[in-house]
Amino acid sequence: MPIHEKSLIRPENITTHDELVIEGVDVSGHWSTFIETRVIADYNEAMEEEIASLPGGENIHRCWQCGSCTNSCTVHAIEPRFNPRYWIYLIRTGMESELLRDKDLIWQCVSCNKCTYACPRDVVPEGVMKATAHWLEMKGHVPESPSMIFDKIFTEQIVEHGRIEDTKVLMQFLKRTNQPLMQDWLKQIVMNIAARLPMKWGLKSAWSFVFHPRTRGWKKAGAAIQDYIIEVEQHHKAALGAGASRAASNDNPPQRKLHAAE
C-alpha cells in the first residue's frame, strides 16, 4: 500500500476478529488491512445547493480543484487536516459522510482571505468555509461553535446599541462558554496595564461598561436590522428544507433574541 494511502485507514474502520481462520491461517485480532469497504455508495445531491444558498457559498460551483486555497491557507499551515479544496470537492460531489469527519475543524477558518486572494476562479473559499460551518450548525451536525457564539454576542450588542464595548463582549463570551474570567493570561494583561496605572483609564473603562457606548438615534436602525436577521434566518431554513434543525442547541445558552422563533 503506498504510504499516502495509509491515511485512508481509520480507527473506526479497522475490523477485529476474536477468532478468524482464513485458508488455514489464524488471523484473529486487529488487522489494519481488514478495513471496512472504502467504496462510496451514494452522493448527497442536495448538499452543494444548500451550502450555495447560504451567504458566502454562492460561488462554490466554480471550483476546479487547483489547490491554491489550501496551499495559501493560514490554518492549513498549522492543522494539515484543514483543507478547503478537499472539502469543496466533497461538498460538490455530495460526499457528506467524508465531510462530516472534519466537521469540528471547518469553523476554525480565521477569515484571513489568503485563499480568496489566490483563487483563480474567484470561488471566495473563505465564504464557502463560513457557509459550510453555518450549514453544519443548521443541520445539527455540530453544536454552535465558540466562534458563532462570539459573533452572536457581538451582533446583539450592535443591534441594541449601534456600537460594541470590547470588555463587555469578552466577559459575556467567557460566561456563555463557561470559561473562568480570571484566566492566568488575562490576569497578566490587566496587571500589566494596571501597573502603569492610569487610574483614569481604569475608571474610563468602568464607565463605558456601565454606560454602554451607544449611537444616538439608533433605536429604529437596530429594529430594522433585527427584522432583517429574522427574515434571512427564515429564508435559510427554507432553503435547507426540513433537515435544518438546531438539534444541538440544548448544549447552548437559552434562546436569544437573535433567532427567529422556532
Binding site: P55, G56, T74, V75, I78, Q108, C109, V110, S111, C112, N113, K114, T116, Y117, V124, K130, S145, P146, S147, M148, I149, F150, D151, K152, F154, T155, I158, G162, R163, I164, E165, D166, T167, L170, F173, L174, T177, D184, W185, Q188, I189, N192, I193, R196, S205, S208, P213, T215, R216, G217, W218, K220, A221, A223, A224, I225, D227, Y228, I229, V232
Partner: protein, 314 residues
C-alpha cells in the same frame, strides 16, 4: 486625476471614523492619531453618531448587515468635510467601508437590502461614490509624505529596528482596493510598504520581514485562542529572527492580538518573546517629539517605555 499637491491640500481636513476598537482596547491608537494630527496641523472632523462598521462578527451572521452598517457610517461621513473623505485607522473599519463601497457599486442585491434597512431606520440610503475611504497610512502619506516627515523628524528614529506588520484586512481581498497595485506610488497588496516608507522617512531601519501580511488569527482571539497564539507567536518570532526590536502596527485588532498572545504564548506555551509592539502613529509621534503619555504608550499592554528611554526617544 487630481494632482498630488492639490490632493495633499484637500486631505488636510478629513472626516475621522475611529470605530469601536479605538474607543476601547485600541485607545492608544486613537490618542496617538489625534496627537500627530494636531502636531502636523491636520484637521480631523469626527463622524457624528457613528455606529460599528459591522466587523467580521456581523459579517458572519449575515454579510449584508455589515454592508448596511458600513453604509450608514459612510452616509454620516458625507458632508462631514468638503472633500467627503473619511479616514479610518482601524484595518477592520477601513476594510468594511471599502467592501461596502464595492458591494454597493457592483451588487444590486446589496443595494436593495441597504435601501430597505435604511428606509426602515429612517435615513437616506448611502449611494456608492458619495464618499471616499482612506486609511491612516494613506492620510499621512498623502498629506505630509516622506519628504515632510524627513524635515519634521530629522531622522529621530535612527537606529530603531522595526518590523512592519500590516495584517490581512488592509490588503485582502484585492478587488475591494481598486487603487492598490497601480504601479509606482501606489500601495501593493502582496508587499505593502506605506508604513515602511513613513517610518523610514522618520529615520527607522526597517528589517526584512516576510510576514507583513500574515494572519494574526484575530478572528478567533477568544474563540480559538490556541490557534491565535500560534499564529501570533510565528509573527513575533519571525520579527525577532530578523532583528526587529519593535513591531509597528496599523490596526487595533492586530495590535492587541499581538500583545495579548505574546503574553499568552509565554503563560501557556512557555515561549517568551521580547519584541515591543507599538502603533505606527505612536512611533511617528515619538519621532515628532511628542511625549509617550500623550501618545497613549502607557496604555499599551506591551511594555516599551524603558526601551524607549534607553533609545533616547522620550
Amino acid at each position: 486625476m487630481v494632482d498630488v499637491t492639490e490632493r495633499a491640500k484637500q486631505l488636510r481636513e478629513v472626516a475621522y471614523y475611529p470605530g469601536c476598537a479605538l474607543e476601547g482596547s485600541g485607545n492608544g491608537y486613537d490618542v496617538s492619531t489625534r496627537a500627530i494630527a494636531h502636531n502636523l496641523g491636520l484637521k480631523l472632523r469626527d463622524v457624528k453618531d457613528w455606529n460599528c462598521c459591522g466587523a467580521m462578527e456581523v459579517k458572519n451572521i449575515d454579510p449584508k448587515i455589515q454592508t448596511y452598517l458600513s453604509s450608514r457610517v459612510l452616509s454620516q461621513a458625507v458632508n462631514a468635510t468638503r472633500n467627503n473623505v473619511v479616514m479610518a485607522p482601524c484595518n477592520g473599519c477601513y476594510h468594511n467601508l471599502k467592501k461596502a463601497e464595492y458591494d454597493l457599486a457592483n451588487d444590486q442585491n446589496s443595494r436593495d437590502v441597504v435601501e430597505k434597512i435604511s428606509a426602515k431606520a429612517g435615513h437616506k440610503t448611502y449611494e456608492a461614490g458619495q464618499a471616499e475611504t482612506i486609511h491612516a497610512l494613506d492620510w499621512i502619506k498623502e498629506t505630509i509624505g516622506e519628504e515632510g516627515l524627513r524635515e519634521r523628524t530629522k531622522g529621530k528614529l535612527a537606529g530603531l529596528k522595526i518590523a512592519n506588520y500590516y495584517g490581512c484586512m488592509y490588503v485582502r481581498p484585492r478587488h475591494i482596493f481598486p487603487e492598490k497595485d497601480q504601479g509606482p506610488g501606489s500601495e501593493s497588496t502582496s508587499k505593502p510598504h506605506f508604513m515602511d516608507d513613513l517610518l523610514a522617512a522618520a529615520g527607522a531601519e526597517n528589517v526584512e520581514f516576510p510576514l507583513k501580511t500574515a494572519c494574526c488569527g484575530g478572528a478567533h482571539t477568544l474563540s480559538d485562542s490556541d490557534m491565535s497564539t500560534k499564529l501570533v507567536l510565528n509573527i513575533l518570532q519571525a520579527a525577532e529572527a530578523n532583528g526587529a526590536e519593535v513591531i509597528a502596527t496599523e490596526c487595533p485588532t492586530c495590535h492587541s492580538g499581538l500583545e495579548m498572545h505574546q503574553i499568552r504564548a509565554e503563560k501557556r506555551f512557555g515561549k517568551k518573546t521580547n519584541v515591543r509592539i507599538l502603533y505606527f502613529t505612536q512611533l511617528l509621534g515619538l519621532a515628532l517629539g511628542i511625549g509617550p503619555r500623550k501618545l497613549g504608550i502607557h496604555t499599551n499592554i506591551s511594555e516599551s517605555i524603558p526601551f524607549l528611554v534607553e533609545k533616547g526617544l522620550t
